[in-house]
Symmetry: C3
Subunit: 378 residues, 3 copies
Amino acid sequence: MTTEVVSPSLIPTLPGHTYVSEDIFRAEQEHIFEEMWFCAVRTADLEKAGSFKTVQIGRESVLINRTRKGEVRAFYNICRHRGVKLCMEESGEANRSFQCPYHAWTYDLEGKLIAAPNLTKMPDIDRNEYGLVKVHVREYMGYVWVCLADEPPSFEEDVMGAIEERLGDLRAVDDYDIANLSLGRRIKYDVKANWKLIIENFMECYHCATIHPELTEVLPEFADGLAAQYFVGHGAEFGDDIKGFTIDGSEGLDRIPGVGDDQDRRYYAVTIKPNVFVNLVPDHVIIHRMFPLAADHTIVECDWLYLPSVVESGKDVSASVELFHRVNEQDFDACERCQPAMGSKIYAKGGVLVPSEHHIEAFHSWVTSKIADVPADS
Amino acid sequence: MTTEVVSPSLIPTLPGHTYVSEDIFRAEQEHIFEEMWFCAVRTADLEKAGSFKTVQIGRESVLINRTRKGEVRAFYNICRHRGVKLCMEESGEANRSFQCPYHAWTYDLEGKLIAAPNLTKMPDIDRNEYGLVKVHVREYMGYVWVCLADEPPSFEEDVMGAIEERLGDLRAVDDYDIANLSLGRRIKYDVKANWKLIIENFMECYHCATIHPELTEVLPEFADGLAAQYFVGHGAEFGDDIKGFTIDGSEGLDRIPGVGDDQDRRYYAVTIKPNVFVNLVPDHVIIHRMFPLAADHTIVECDWLYLPSVVESGKDVSASVELFHRVNEQDFDACERCQPAMGSKIYAKGGVLVPSEHHIEAFHSWVTSKIADVPADS
Amino acid sequence: MTTEVVSPSLIPTLPGHTYVSEDIFRAEQEHIFEEMWFCAVRTADLEKAGSFKTVQIGRESVLINRTRKGEVRAFYNICRHRGVKLCMEESGEANRSFQCPYHAWTYDLEGKLIAAPNLTKMPDIDRNEYGLVKVHVREYMGYVWVCLADEPPSFEEDVMGAIEERLGDLRAVDDYDIANLSLGRRIKYDVKANWKLIIENFMECYHCATIHPELTEVLPEFADGLAAQYFVGHGAEFGDDIKGFTIDGSEGLDRIPGVGDDQDRRYYAVTIKPNVFVNLVPDHVIIHRMFPLAADHTIVECDWLYLPSVVESGKDVSASVELFHRVNEQDFDACERCQPAMGSKIYAKGGVLVPSEHHIEAFHSWVTSKIADVPADS
């Protein structure tokens, strides 16, 4: 038995224990999900003043809401008094404030402490200092990104930079006008696998011929095993007889006006670490957001976005949704089937990457460097 | 973000991790529940010789029974031979002995080994030494208190002392004649929260106006946020138009004869660490016993006790039971809503106590001192 | 409270924590189940080329199959590429190969890598080196035994030696012709107890009078508490009015031809560490295989084997199966009732063994020595 890699065709993956260790996962929560910009909710889901969503980011519950001025704010979802979880629901509407159901400490939509029993008799309490603890917020591409770090990293480098690195420039965000598209469908997947397996899966197409018959029918070049993400700026071309990015190659929906002829009939995919996949086709955009909950458990929320006129008209988007929904199910099944072997002694040094997967090594190096920052005594 | 407490109105709670750490909980099991007097069962539940109950105390299952002489004994619920759990049921009737179902080692109701296959051929076995392992027992206020420590602490100081400290003297136990009351209702609550949150909740009334509308209707002074436990000897007075301690303020049951006029129309509450709450009103007594099972899981058993004549006559106690049953549900809901935030990084130093909660600090100091006894290497 | 053993009649068992500690269990997985010969599947269950079974051994999933040459091979059930669990089912039929469902790496029934997308473009990949990782295999007594150690211990000493040590010689395996018997019934038991409790239970008969009324009816000497395994070569004799090894002592099935008159009307039991019990009676053989899954969880698979002519004729084996099925249930109930007390502080030093159980001490010493091999830093 040897797992030494001696063939130039093959390079090693991460060691198996990095996919199962709860210690590694805790380090990833601390140094990746809780320190980076994390794509949390779709901006349009916060419809009006008081609309809120709660999301789990790393080990924290985060409360994101729209203020009366129409801005988006995010806070730790915890009352400052005795630690009650303020909002239990995944989404809802606050009227003018958030009131803790235990002792009625009350915060306005900006997070300021505005009322509490006997508060007037405790004038020394600074209502801002004892307001909800804020987290950093950015709106981009129609989504709210939050960062729990005290000093957030550069959004331009980390988020926008990932798009530029993959597509060559940021035009796509403008061309596909993502922020102004409408939600046609949302599906939530409960995946019993490590988040890194899901990213690795999205980054390579060596598996496409085996598990994605419908997708390779639409994108014949995928059958060769080279992912759309392999070459800067490259989008995989539709097959000759394919009319749209649909389960059966039938006509898609209305083309997004900004999509240029060079982008037409092509599929582009972008990975924005640590939790987002962007998929661009002429008539819609598919956004995956991952929510890693445990070393072997990840929730993936997937949005299918179309022109507002398409969604409002009630056009049938099923054939369009069905294609990537099936791809998702095929991919997540594969990831779930990897997970149980990660702890085996013969996978202690990991598996191997073939040449068309070698670019995943950059992801592995990145994860390793993030976790390497952990001081030995933490 | 800062959690430094600078306002004199506010003092800190225990750090958040003390409510979620299984290591802390293990230390609490070892140094609190397994070393202190623990209120286990109601004496009257052991009706006759051979009646037994089993209860979980710390990490141990304890078997409590009534002997043929009518006395109460308690043992580790474990056969001395190969470790079988002797009694699986929560309660039952042994005839004259406890027989292990595996190899038939048999113990009398005093715990002595009285029979076993081939025992006569093993004359060197001392039947007392290989009897059931005893735990210390005291009967008080109609309940059996047990202590798993080799050298129990002073029952007079710890248990009786808690009553004296709260009420000024031990008269209540005589006046309300608790040991001779009858059980009108028993409700068991399964609470997904740390036992300390439940004690803290019981000790303060700052939350009463927010979550206990029925209780504050009956006890108007509770709306101010000062708990009955705040002043030595004080009992909260019923509202003017309140006829009894019932869900709708209607007439209660027959007044306990020993209750003096100074105690009439008043509610007294006492916390006896580590697991008992006593609630006194003119016509009944409510006793809570907590059974902490995990850092985030506690069973609470609550007894409503009335004059034997009330229970025997079959009078309807529902309006009376309903009031504190609802209070229990409101309180335990609040505790369950605190639990998930205890592990948050912004709760690492804990929350804050307002002036009407400051007395809880004594409980925090007590817990801390109990756990501080743990040597670093244990 | 003392657990010092001062009576010569009594010797101590293993300490209680060895039955509950997940660290101890991990050491047992590593140094016992993953290093010894482990009885995995019945050879006849691999009917033809491509038939496979998967079994959990220690922390590993093992894939066992029959090759086109009719031989049995065993592998770690993991694709060498990215770690997918190759076969999810407990049993099935592969056609000519095992193909990974993720990227289609394909292995022949000998484990050799025979195909993969683009494999021809990666000529530096050695198809044997990247074949499935083999585990050692032996066929004996109609079962496939596997060993995950790089250097397996002596099968002759460990497996055959255990039979010789118990029965005096290996004749039984020939006399009862176990490899050529047919499966009459298989029952799988899910036992919530440590595997060592199950072995200890099988090794002694001090419990027989208490929990096995049917068995002691058939084997009267068991009522005295001496197990069949107590004396080398001894088989417990059927009672005078017993016609067969059946639930009601009624006639059994056809006697196995090789069984000699000295073996007739007798029951022999053999323990083959770490996971097999063999039970011999004139007309059938009962084989238990244990699969320890956690410190407190063990699967036991029990096979009742008869002459092929008996099974083929469709004769009713129920009265025969029912006897030991009931014994199994009685034993496993007892083991499950021991498990919860193993963590008690009064069982920290363990329980005691009476003289008719003293031979279990050898098993305890053996376990202790196996785990003692664990270096302090592992």
